[in-house]
């Protein structure tokens, strides 16, 4: 055993933990308490450890120290659920191509001040149970669009995020299924450059627009 009283000459120096854990014999405890009144180092050591029993008490021995493993079926079900979700989320990831992107000095003249990650709130076009904020970030290959969309309806439903070009044509950026009382966060890339985008809209699959954010250039 190399765990001897190595460093300090104080024979009480290692009793702090056993003391706060309540494991000392009555004799040892009494002797240690006597010693504490005259030894600042040991008193300090005890104060340092004084909170530990309270923390240990938070542990549920039965369920947390020897926890029952989760059922084997959970992981496969999760992977299947993730696949279903992914299929709905058709993202148009930009093909990162062309080295023509020398003109990277795109001044971001969008609605958003700076590149605030939380984005800009989209305007509701009616009393719909959806709210969303988006941010656009120019990239060499186009634009990165980050969106957070919360849905307060009860039934859930399919939604589509589209970019409206200056000529009025639209390009679908993403589609997803909104879960009741939940927020969908996504980040998608589009080869459109910010100055090609007149507005972003969240629409129903039938084309009806629910939320809109004009993108000024």
């Amino acid at each position: 055993m190399n765990e001897t009283f190595a460093t300090s000459g104080d024979p009480f120096a290692h009793l702090d933990a056993a003391y706060v854990l309540g494991a000392l014999s009555p004799q040892d405890r009494a002797a240690f308490e006597d010693h504490l009144s005259s030894c600042a180092a040991c008193a300090h050591a005890v104060r340092e450890l004084a909170g530990m029993p309270g923390l240990l008490a938070q542990v549920d021995v039965r369920s947390q120290l020897r926890p029952e493993p989760p059922p084997a079926g959970v992981l496969p079900a999760l992977l299947a659920g993730a696949r279903r979700h992914r299929r709905r989320l058709v993202t148009t990831v930009a093909a990162a191509v062309t080295a023509v992107a020398a003109a990277v000095t795109l001044v971001l003249a969008l609605v958003l001040p700076g590149n605030e990650p939380q984005g800009t709130e989209m305007t509701a076009l009616g009393p719909y149970p959806v709210r969303a904020s988006v941010s656009l970030e120019p990239a060499a290959w186009g634009t990165k669009v980050a969106m957070s969309c919360s849905y307060r309806g009860a039934r859930g439903g399919d939604y589509v995020l589209v970019a409206v070009r200056r000529d009025g044509t639209v390009r679908e950026l993403a589609s997803w299924y909104a879960v009741p009382e939940d927020t969908a966060e996504m980040s998608v890339g589009t080869p459109l450059h910010p100055d090609e985008i007149a507005a972003l809209e969240i629409r129903l699959p039938d084309g009806r627009a629910l939320l809109r954010l004009p993108v000024s250039s």
């Binding site: 933990a17 056993a18 854990l21 369920s63 947390q64 926890p67 979700h85």
Partner: protein
């Protein structure tokens, strides 16, 4: 998703079992739904493990309550106890307990063992020495190092007291 499952499913499963009073079918639903939501909100997991756990446990509890409510309106559960009573908010305590349990898990076997005996099994130094077949002085110094190692591990996890 697999990483998410491996890191959090064990703790969530135990917590969900408590939330559902041991109903394994419902507990499994709660774990799955919670982890699916976490997977769709990867940002919440970027935080400290403690905040991530707190988020997961809070979501799990909400899901358990919502399930309880919808089952109650379908009159499947015949009881007068409101869900707040059936599902007490012990989220914070459960999260804290897991952090401490995780920190214990990171200790060396020798250190963990001596804390289990001297604290959780309430043994005296003398009893622990007999159990482990080592000197009482060794038990004392081992608890000294073990409790300090635990304190350090907890500080790294953002728990200080």
């Amino acid at each position: 998703m697999r990483a998410l499952h491996d890191e959090h499913a064990p703790a969530l499963w135990v917590y969900a079992l408590q939330l559902t009073s041991g109903n394994r079918v419902r507990a499994e639903d709660v774990v799955q739904e919670t982890l699916l939501r976490a997977w769709r909100h990867p940002k919440v997991l970027d935080q400290s493990q403690r905040s991530a756990r707190a988020w997961l446990f809070t979501v799990a509890r909400r899901i358990a309550i919502d399930e309880w409510r919808s089952a109650a309106t379908r009159s499947e559960i015949a009881t007068d106890a409101p869900p707040e009573l059936a599902v007490p908010d012990d989220t914070e305590r459960a999260v804290q307990g897991w952090i401490v349990a995780d920190a214990l898990g990171e200790l060396s076997d020798r250190h963990r063992e001596v804390l289990l005996l001297c604290y959780f099994e309430g043994m005296s130094v003398a009893d622990a020495a007999v159990r482990l077949g080592i000197a009482e002085g060794t038990v004392k110094s081992r608890t000294h190092y073990a409790l300090r190692a635990l304190r350090l591990a907890l500080e790294e996890k953002g728990v200080t007291r």
